[in-house]
């Protein structure tokens, strides 16, 4: 197993790690960096539960090798709040009941953040399309749509 020293920038902090080249970003985040807010769901790129942002774009960390993110900026759920203040999406998810068991929530929030950064005033259909790769087994999705719409409105003020 070839190992390599990689420099990872996660949530604004730079860390140097010795990692096996075959290890996924998901494994390194959870096991090496202790950032367990990013979840395992299927290990197949199907459920979206492990979504993180790499240079602001949503990426499935179970299908990404840690060495591929060298020199790029990774944001996990632990880095979504800024300056100790929750992201408007986090507050809106809480207030709308958009999380039930909460397991899909980190991946859902990061995908939604990328959408709102790209398109601050999305239509309901835009939100559905953007989040269609993130599965939720509890909510039936509608309260998540309400939360993203609310956060978009409030971010726009």
């Amino acid at each position: 197993m070839a190992k390599r020293v990689v420099t990872l920038s996660v949530n604004g902090a730079t860390t140097e790690l010795l990692v096996a080249e075959h290890r996924t970003l998901l494994e390194v985040l959870r096991h090496d960096l202790g950032l367990v807010g990013t979840k395992y769901g299927c290990d197949l790129g199907e459920c979206g539960t492990c979504t993180v942002l790499v240079d602001g774009r949503p990426v499935l960390s179970c299908l990404t090798l840690a060495v591929q993110t060298e020199g790029r900026s990774v944001t996990t759920i632990e880095g979504l709040a800024r300056g100790g203040r929750p992201d408007p999406l986090q507050t809106a998810f809480a207030e709308h009941g958009a999380a039930q068991c909460g397991y899909c929530t980190p991946g859902m929030l990061l995908t939604a953040r990328a959408l709102l950064d790209d398109r601050p005033d999305p239509s309901r259909d835009d939100i559905k399309q953007a989040l269609a790769g993130n599965l939720c087994r509890c909510t039936g999705y509608n309260k998540i749509l309400d939360a993203v719409e609310t956060a978009a409105r409030e971010s726009g003020i």
């Binding site: 367990v36 299927c42 207030e95 068991c101 087994r137 509890c138 909510t139 039936g140 509608n142």
Partner: protein
Amino acid sequence: MEAEHTVVGRRRPRVDAMAQTTGRLAYADDVTLPGTVIGRQLRSPHAHALINAIDTSRAEALEGVLAVITGRDLPTAYGILPVSQDEHALAVEKVRHVGEPVAAVAALDAETAEEALRLIQVEYRPLDDVATIEEALTEDRPLLHGQGVGPNVHRSVALEFGDVDAGFARADHIREDLFFFGGNTHAALELHAALASSEADGKLTVWSSTQVPHYLHRTVATVLDLEMNRIRVIATPNGGGFGGKTDLFSHELVAAKLSMLTGRPVKITLTREEVFYTHRGRHPVLMWLRTGFRSDGSITSMHLRTHLDGGAYGSYGMASLYYTGALQTSTYRIPNYRFEGVRAFTNKPPCGPKRGHGTPQPRFALECHLDQAAAELGLDPVTIRLRNAIEPHTMTVNHLRITSCGLNECIEKVVEASAFDSRFGRLGPGHGVGLAIGAYLSGAGLPIYFNDMPQSEVQIKVDRGGGVTVYSMAIDIGQGSTSMLATVVGERLGLEPGELAMVTADTDLTPVDLGSYSSRVTFMAGNAALEAADRIRDMILEAVADELEADVGDLVVAHGRIFVRGTPDAGVAWTDAVRAATERFGSLMASGSYRAPRLAGPYRGSGVGISPAYSYSAAVVEVDCDRDTGMVDVKKVWLAHDIGRAINPLLVEGQIEGSVYMALGEALFEEQAFRRTLHRGPSLLDYKMPTFLEMPPVESILVESIDPEGPFGAKEVGQGPLLPVIPAVANAIHDALGVRIDEVPITPDKIVAALRDLDRGGPGRFGPTDLPDFDFGPPWPVEPPEGFAVP
């Protein structure tokens, strides 16, 4: 007069909402102790085989491997139901389905553990397998449990309530139908995981994503041969349950054993593929239903046969079997009723409880059957249901006690909101609406193992700063049980739910609650919390009444203050009231408990179906269907639910919407499908679930019947709303295309086949045409309850 509620009935976020949205909520796989090592299980590649020998020597010799175990190391059989103790943590002598655990290892890291599994050599002698209900009920297939050949019957039942033949003799019209409901699985996004740590003092702690920490506690004690007081079980917040984490699992017991052997904390997290093999999901059920009607649509008699494909082990199957026959009478007045059912063993992962446990299958059958009978009688779907709808405060022919019942209001409201009357049969080709109803338990009336102790206990402690801590073993699986408890206690103590400290699901710290299953927590833990909160409240009021020189009866507790009614400014703050009460009574602690009334009827099997209260639901589904492709687009779902009282309407709506989602998945997409005994696709790539793009808008309508025994009048909402949606989809597709798909899931190929049948002059139906030949024996006659009037 009781003051208006200040906390109950308000839309509020979950008390743990910010922990969830910041990623801080720790699920089982997120918990790691210093020195934690990895456990992995070796699983059978055979559906049915004898184990001749297992050689673990090469695995044991691998560097980094700490322990290797097989069935010999965990020889005690167990099972969730006392009548079905047929499982082993690791297979002993025989495997009965692909994916059954055979051996396990603990190693320093995951790669070493995987390599060790490859080095374990198992010598199997394959046997003929049993793949279907039909095969299982023949005489010449090998027995899964026992020696030789014969019908693989787990259990059969035959009960007759009233006089079914006489009821059919009085009928003006009799209808018979066959239905099949394919099995499906929970697919909670969180993978099952357990962490076990055996300490130097001999104490064992197990963290697990389980819905039933108390039952796990008992089983760890039995299988590991430890006293319960040497074991601590902590249920971590479940990343979705839906019934999938209500059983006792191999990996929980194996992690415990490996930790005891190695002296290290051992964590086992299943892969997604392993979760599909672990299963315990919806039983495939083949059903035959015969009903007699008078010309006005009223039911005179009903005869139901169910055939359940149970998979390889008992699990909850005995209860699942009885549930397929138990709740038909909870929605309709059925004066005479015969139920025959059989659960068969097959060489597939065991089935168990999934949301609605054993009742969505016959509910699908009954609601489709009623629509067809209505059409033949010249009635509409609303009329035939209202004609037969059960009344509040009645007994059913099979001895269910019905108390509060908002069924009529649910039907009327959902019909009005969807304009069903003016749209049914009138939307034109390809467009349709369908109606169906359902009912569900607010908690199983009996515990899983026989005992007379309370089904739920809650303790409350108040500290000198006014802080309130609530202790309950109820585990939040996403349904919001912790928020419910905080709301109930907050209401009685005049505090915001978010101000309370909640300690849950830890057998060292919290008093027993039987678990998050059978929609029991709001009713049972809620009532226990209410009793505990009122005992604290009584102490506080007594102390404050003295200080204010007022009568206890004139005091109001609200908004963090205690005051005389009408003069809120003149009262005392909560913290001062706590000081006064502590001066008077010493340490402020109280407990409460809940025990369901004794409701079982006078027959074997009557323990299944009884509940202290039933929720009611009615659904209308609107669809657009493509005649060429058979694709179904669900446009909207209206769902009215009798919740008793909504303790938190936001969370109630969440359960309704989630139930509608899960029902649509089952109705249209999801199936735990096999090629004989091999799973067709144990991955989320192959097991198709609805995404944002398939989910329609849902209009939730809350009906509050204020149950006389529920906490603040509340009943369940976690499971009931799923029930009517599946048949309402089938009925809507019939309205749109004129075809009956009597088999779930209703996939496009089945619709196209039924349309071709219609075009060829056939009835336009897709569904089963035969029943296996099985002798249920003479039905056990049960007299209806005293005073039961035959309509």
